[in-house]
């Protein structure tokens, strides 16, 4: 059986707390998809729920707001891992409920 739990924990810790150019607060907010000022808030919402609809113009808007490419990169990674984590955890809770275990 494969077990990604420890790998998942270290991945999340790395992108939220490791060395980066976006502040830990912004990275965590991107991961949680909440509490972000515009234009980052709308962008992170799009990454989380309509990633295929992201355009060059969306990235351009972040650049114009003063974000560097590395900051954009980090925000995208945190937003993607955050949304996938919420999906994953939701399904594990459903699995526990289905099998009657906690």
């Amino acid at each position: 059986m494969s077990d990604i739990n420890s790998l998942h924990t270290s991945l999340v810790a790395r992108v939220l707390e490791g060395e980066g150019q976006a502040s830990p607060e912004i990275r965590r907010a991107a991961f949680n998809n909440e509490g972000l000022a515009e234009p980052i808030g709308k962008f992170v919402e799009k990454v989380a729920h309509k990633a295929r609809m992201v355009t060059d113009a969306d990235i351009g808007t972040l650049r114009k707001a003063g974000l560097s490419e590395d900051q954009i990169y980090e925000i995208v990674v945190c937003a993607a891992i955050g949304q996938a984590t919420r999906q994953y955890r939701n399904a594990l809770v459903a699995l526990s409920a289905a099998t009657g275990r906690n």
């Binding site: 494969s2 998942h8 989380a48 729920h49 990169y73 995208v76 999906q87 399904a91 699995l95 289905a98």
Partner: protein
């Protein structure tokens, strides 16, 4: 690629390695590889993806590659659909099975545990949630609890990767390059 740093921002040693990959493979370096080698101390999800896709599991490698292709189809991520359709087709030695699954899950020639698992992964990917009834249907179809956990690990890996591929705008290679990449993934994995 929408961010120039992912194309050209690697260190000198990594640039040399990417150039070597380009020469040896005879194909452009795929954007997924460029991403994997950019600031590996930050993202570096290869170990997790390797465990989900190649770690011990009751699911075959072909099954897990099919899950990756299926999740990517739901996300409409062209790069990952192409890459994992090809990888699954080679692993099964049955491209028709993979094509049929992506065209219509309900009529595809699949085992019932795998069909039910893909159905649940599709709902989770589309709606970001499933409930106990959804899981009970997968268990009733014959999948084990561990198989469901393993499938959820695959879905996690590709719900991350698909978003990155879409936002960074990974280029979809030509069929020869996609096939070469698929063979590499089967020979060497995701590390």
């Amino acid at each position: 690629m929408r961010l120039a740093i992912l194309d050209h921002g690697h260190g000198i040693r990594t640039k040399a390695m990417l150039a070597l990959i380009r020469v040896v493979s005879g194909h452009p370096v795929v954007d997924a590889v460029k991403l994997a080698f950019y600031r590996p101390g930050f993202y570096r999800a290869g170990g997790l993806t390797q465990e989900a896709m190649r770690g011990p599991s009751e699911w075959s490698i072909a099954d897990r590659e099919l899950m990756a292709a299926f999740v990517s189809k739901v996300n409409e991520t062209e790069f990952c659909i192409a890459a994992h359709t090809a990888t699954s087709a080679i692993a099964y030695n049955d491209g028709a099975k993979v094509s049929a699954t992506l065209a219509d899950l309900e009529t595809a020639p699949l085992s019932e545990p795998l069909r039910a698992t893909l159905r649940m992964l599709g709902k989770l990917t589309r709606e970001s949630k499933v409930d106990a009834d959804d899981v009970l249907m997968v268990l009733a179809a014959g999948a084990s609890e561990q198989q469901i956990k393993d499938a959820l690990a695959v879905a996690f890996a590709f719900n991350v990767t698909d978003r990155l591929a879409d936002v960074f705008d990974f280029a979809v290679g030509d069929p020869k390059a996609i096939n070469a990449g698929a063979k590499y993934l089967l020979a060497r994995g995701y590390r």
